[in-house]
């Protein structure tokens, strides 16, 4: 049952970092999976309904593992559902990019590709975590994310190279998302502490490889890399866009309307 518990104030600073770090990874996967699942029955083909649903399931699965683990670390009686359904926006630590609306299929594929490459690199590094739980989740998740990167990348190439309209749409999706990619590589205090303690990854170190992999696909797709100007951030510390409130209103409706009920 999802029970709202107060914060555990007796948690040691190291455990607090571990909790925050697991929540951060869990929240990004959760909100991303939630967004992606909105596509169900709206996709360009029934085959893509299944494909996007599969990727949403991967993300929700990752979210469950990270959040369940965070709850255990916290020792305050919160499980995956308490963390997913009974926190308000300022306690969510997800990246801003995953809370943006889906846009059209070009926009969604651009995000799947951007996040697929990023998460593959992140989880690959996290597989070497000194925390066995995090390493275990990462080892499973890295395979899933590599597939998302491949699937999204192939689609970006099809759209970029396809028709004039598809090229324009893919480029627009990329342009709209690009500012939010910078946050992927900023180092939050939780991330630097987690990296120092040997169980987390400092994402700034992933940038060069990400750039290379992304540039390769953009070149194949004939899409141009957008300019780096506006660089919004804040998601990792709970400062979100207006979108998150609506996502949570939908996600959390039943748990909020029927407090304490089991489902």
């Amino acid at each position: 049952m999802a029970v709202a518990a107060l914060k555990n104030d007796t948690l040691s600073p190291d455990r607090q970092v571990l909790f925050d770090y697991a929540v951060m990874l869990g929240d990004t996967a959760l909100i991303h999976g939630q967004r992606l699942s909105e596509w169900t029955s709206h996709a360009p083909t029934v085959e893509l309904d299944i494909a996007l649903g599969n990727q949403a399931l991967d993300l929700i699965g990752q979210a469950r593992m990270f959040l369940e683990y965070a709850g255990k670390v916290e020792e305050a009686g919160r499980d995956e559902d308490a963390l997913a359904f009974l926190r308000d926006g300022f306690d969510f630590r997800n990246l801003l990019i995953v809370e943006l609306p889906n846009g059209d299929f070009g926009h969604t594929m651009a995000r799947q590709f951007i996040m697929g490459v990023y998460s593959s690199l992140l989880y690959e590094a996290l597989s070497a975590s000194q925390d066995d739980q995090l390493a275990g989740i990462a080892k499973k998740a890295v395979k899933e994310q590599r597939y998302h990167a491949r699937h999204g990348g192939e689609w970006l190439v099809r759209l970029g190279d396809g028709t004039e309209e598809s090229h324009a749409r893919a480029q627009r999706g990329l342009d709209e998302l690009w500012p939010y990619t910078h946050e992927l590589f900023t180092t939050d205090p939780v991330e630097s502490a987690a990296a120092e303690l040997g169980f987390g990854v400092d994402p700034s170190g992933l940038r060069a490889e990400w750039d290379g992999l992304v540039d390769d696909v953009l070149a194949r797709a004939g899409l141009s890399r957008p300019e780096d100007d506006w660089q919004p951030d804040g998601g990792k510390r709970g400062e979100h866009t207006e979108n998150l409130g609506y996502i949570l209103a939908e996600l959390q409706f039943l748990q909020r309307a029927y407090p304490g009920a089991e489902w």
Binding site: E47, A51, H151, R158
Partner: protein, 127 residues
């Protein structure tokens, strides 16, 4: 007019029927594909190392890579696969049902190809 067999147990498959004699019936096995439709691929899946690929069904995809992606999501969601082949349906050459009797029936009478054709006393083992 060839006599149609009356006993169902002795019936040949319908493809053994003289189709040329009913060619005026407007039966068409060619799938109509309009220009904007993604082509059809046949999907073959190896469910386990050590087993051969088996036909699983067909699906539409714009290109072979997409056919692999679709096959993975459509036919292997429950770990049914270790390996996938996709083949454009148009690339498959198949025997015609009309040829079935000509191609396959002659083998039916060659019983000497089966071990049970040969009489060996029960006492002799390992044969």
């Amino acid at each position: 007019m060839r006599r149609l067999p009356m006993q169902t147990s002795a019936l040949p498959a319908p493809h053994a029927m003289p189709r040329e004699r009913i060619s005026k019936s407007k039966e068409s096995n060619e799938t109509m594909t309009d220009k904007n439709e993604w082509p059809l691929f046949e999907v073959f899946i190896r469910s386990k190392q050590g087993l051969a690929h088996q036909h699983a069904g067909s699906l539409h995809a714009a290109d072979a890579e997409m056919a692999i992606e679709n096959a993975r999501d459509v036919y292997t969601r429950r770990s049914e696969g270790q390996s996938i082949w996709v083949v454009p349906s148009t690339a498959i050459t198949a025997t015609s049902p009309d040829d079935k009797s000509v191609l396959f029936d002659p083998a039916d009478t060659k019983v000497y190809r089966h071990p049970t054709f040969y009489d060996v006393p029960d006492e002799v083992e390992c044969l």
